[in-house]
Amino acid sequence: MTDQQLPSPTDAAPIVPDVPEKEPGESRWHLFVRELTTGSVAISILAVVLALLAGGVLIAVTNEEVQAAAGYFFSRPTDTLRAIWDSVAGAYSALFQGSVYNFRRPGFAAGIRPLTETLTFATPLIAAGLGVALAFRVGMFNIGGRGQMLVAAAAAGWVGFSLDLPWGIHLLVAVAAGIVVGGLWGGLAGLLKARTGAHEVITTIMLNYVAFYLLAFLLRTPVLQAPGSNNPKTPPMKETAVFPDLFGPGYNLHAGFLFAIAATVLVWWLLNRSSLGFQFRAVGENPHAARVAGINVKNVYVWAMLISGGLVGLAGTAQALGTIKTGFGSGIDAGIGFDAITVALLGRSRPWGVFAAGILFGAFKAGGFSMQAAEGIPVDIVLVVQSLIVLFIAAPPLVRSIFRLPTPGVGRPSRRREAVAK
């Protein structure tokens, strides 16, 4: 049986590292300046700036005061400029105060609360993003985050509210249940791909629906439904099963974040230091070459989807046992399964990149809501900014031409170009 690798979404992950080559004979300072202006850090920062600028244009154009002032722009242009400044600065300061530090609250403890909110939002995004990124590194596209989160939340939630176990053990059992069930759900898609060649894009999308209806059914039966209730909602989690608060009851940040950090370290170790991770990357680069080299490509598909599903399952678990402890319905995934794809792309499918991208998107989520509340700007603007960031970061030549930055390594074959072209 031939193992036809589907080129479509599977060649997704840009894998070649973005380190500009060191040229011999260049002074340290020269190197530093070049790295600063052409390196991926500069591109990333400029991409964020560009995206925020574009978002600012949208905010200003739709602002009523700006529109009113633009009506007499030629008689008093300063009015328009001031209105634009007020609307955009107001929006972004609300975004900042909602996600990092709120200056209007007295004291550090109250002021820093938005940052903990950011990390709370970031927790499931990091975990699910790691899962999607891992699949990308093996050359697979896991769009099944929603389904994997739902079944994982169901499993973790069931353990969380129906079993009686001592403190500590209960939480670990519940988390393990979530990860295992999420992993099996993802592994099913991997198994189908390995055994029959069924494309994982189809199977994971279909499994999303199956998981959704399965959860909807269970929420109507005594298995998951809160006793004596007609709502399709689970009972609250037991005290012993929830993620403990990290900074006391005043903050929502829970120990799930520590699990997200641990997962990042684990994935980093797995991909970069373990033999399985080497096989993952080899298959992701070129499955034919990997098979010739003696790697069991089919097994790699199954393992990759198992682990990927398990990581997404951790995200579902964090939702069920940390963010929403009072019982959940079928909307527990909150679209994180799809957000995770963007997070993985922004993080370039590297563990720490995903970690940073998850925190950035968590900040946008936390700040977006407070921006909506304070300035009346729809939270959807956050989606625009997020997607533009990813788009700009993915196209360094575009950012460079906008800011007229030098192209790295002019005169010799550009490595970056190849990295993107992978």
Binding site: S8, A12, A198, D380, V390, L391
Partner: protein
């Protein structure tokens, strides 16, 4: 002493026989399901198929089938097809596609018979609902097929549909002309495609990344403008006139099929033309040959003088126009106003239909119809009432798709250069 001459072993050339058991196994699973559902868990009573509505010119009487015998009959037929498939597989032959299709239709009929014990299934309603939900999927799938055939993975179908829906609603509301709205939808789809094409062809960004990100971008933009501009000015900007349904005089009187197929808006009639047209152009014209050459082997196409980048750019734009056109159906054909995230994942299902349909416009259309049927089942089951928890009935089509993809489609081969940028050296 003589040594008995050992006859040299004769080389036997075996005929290469590839036995694929996937199809028989898949059919066997379905037959087992049918046996359990229709026979062992069979329901008593009578199933009625309402073939006509009151407004039909020729009215057919309702078709009434006793549920359990009907189920048994269907199961026997399914078992016969499965047995035939096993025989074919033993002699290393393939099961013909039409037989698999017949199997599918029989299974669906058996399922409807079983589900509707003691109730009546409105057949034209079932078909019309299926078609209605399939229209955006089919247009999206056509856009996806063209994109991938020319070598650009079009994950942005969702974004193109949504942009088309948004633009058609706004343009048609301002001009009060649904046809102009349709044009606006195509332009919006093309604009999304321009970004996809520019980033994937000029900047050589990974096409899946651009596609996914474009979906998010369009979702964000349309939701943002919907909340801040459309909702306060709904009368001016978000109340497009809907297309009138056009009744095709003679064809609309065909029993069962007529009302569903030929009392539709102009968008649906365009679809009837678009599907065969895309198929014909892809496989029978010079344009199609060039397009596929660029998607399969861009270097060879370049060698014979086809401009790969330009071919890709304009065909991806065309794909966007088609998908945007489908998006207009959501606002101008079905709902009558734009709503936040109104595509609700239709673009991703269209993507699945593209792969399920093996990058062929006709097969992709059939796959889209299957998904449309799956989504419409919810409405039908709410009418006839479901014998098992409705969630399982709703889940069934997606499970069927998984089994079908695993068993019947299996390893599919995408156009060879799909998703791969072409860098001229």
């Amino acid at each position: 002493m003589t040594v008995a001459a050992v006859p040299a072993p004769e080389a036997v050339l075996e005929r290469e026989a590839v036995r694929s058991w996937k199809v028989p196994i898949a059919l066997g699973i379905f037959t087992a399901v049918a046996l359990i559902l229709f026979v062992l868990l069979g329901r008593d009573g009578e199933s009625t198929f309402r073939l006509s509505t009151e407004t039909d010119a020729f009215r057919l009487p309702d078709l009434t089938i006793p549920t359990r015998p009907g189920g048994i009959l269907v199961t026997v037929l399914l078992a016969a097809i499965t047995a035939f498939s096993v025989l074919r597989a033993r002699s290393a032959q393939r099961t013909p596609l039409w037989l698999v299709a017949l199997f599918g239709v029989l299974f669906v009929l058996g399922f409807l018979t079983w589900a509707s014990a003691g109730a009546a299934v409105p057949m034209s309603g079932l078909l019309a609902g299926t078609l209605g939900l399939s229209v955006p999927l089919i247009f999206g799938a056509l856009g996806g097929v063209i994109g991938e055939r020319v070598g650009v993975v079009n994950v942005a179908i969702e974004g193109q549909l949504l942009a088309g829906a948004f633009a058609s609603a706004v343009v048609a509301s301002i001009t009060q002309q649904p046809l102009v709205g349709l044009l606006g939808a195509m332009v919006a789809g093309v604009l999304v495609s321009f970004v996809l094409a520019a980033f994937s062809i000029k900047y050589i960004v990974d096409q899946v990344i651009v596609g996914v990100v474009l979906n998010v971008l369009v979702t964000g933009l349309t939701s943002f403008f919907f909340s801040i501009v459309l909702t306060p000015n709904a009368a001016l900007l978000n109340s497009p006139p809907k297309f009138e349904r056009i009744r095709i005089p003679f064809l609309a009187d065909i029993p069962v099929l007529g009302p569903a197929l030929f009392r539709q808006t102009i968008i649906v009639y365009v679809m009837y033309l678009a599907v065969p047209l895309v198929w014909y152009c892809l496989f029978k014209t010079r344009w199609g040959l060039r397009l596929r050459a660029v998607g399969e082997h861009p270097q060879a196409a370049d060698t014979v003088g086809i401009n790969v980048a330009r071919t890709r750019f304009w065909n991806v734009s065309l794909a966007g126009a088609i998908a945007g056109f489908g998006g207009a159906y959501l606002t101008l054909g079905a709902v009558g106003a734009f709503n936040k995230e109104m595509t609700a994942g239709a673009g991703f299902i269209a993507l699945a239909a593209v792969i399920f349909g093996r990058w062929d416009p006709i097969r992709a259309t059939l796959a889209a119809l299957l998904f449309g049927f799956a989504q419409n089942l919810q409405n039908v089951l709410s009418i006839i009432g479901a014998p098992v928890p409705s969630e399982f009935m709703l889940m069934l089509p997606y499970v069927v798709t998984i089994v079908a993809v695993a068993g019947l489609v299996g390893q599919v081969r995408a156009p060879a250069a799909s998703g791969k940028p072409y860098i001229k050296s």
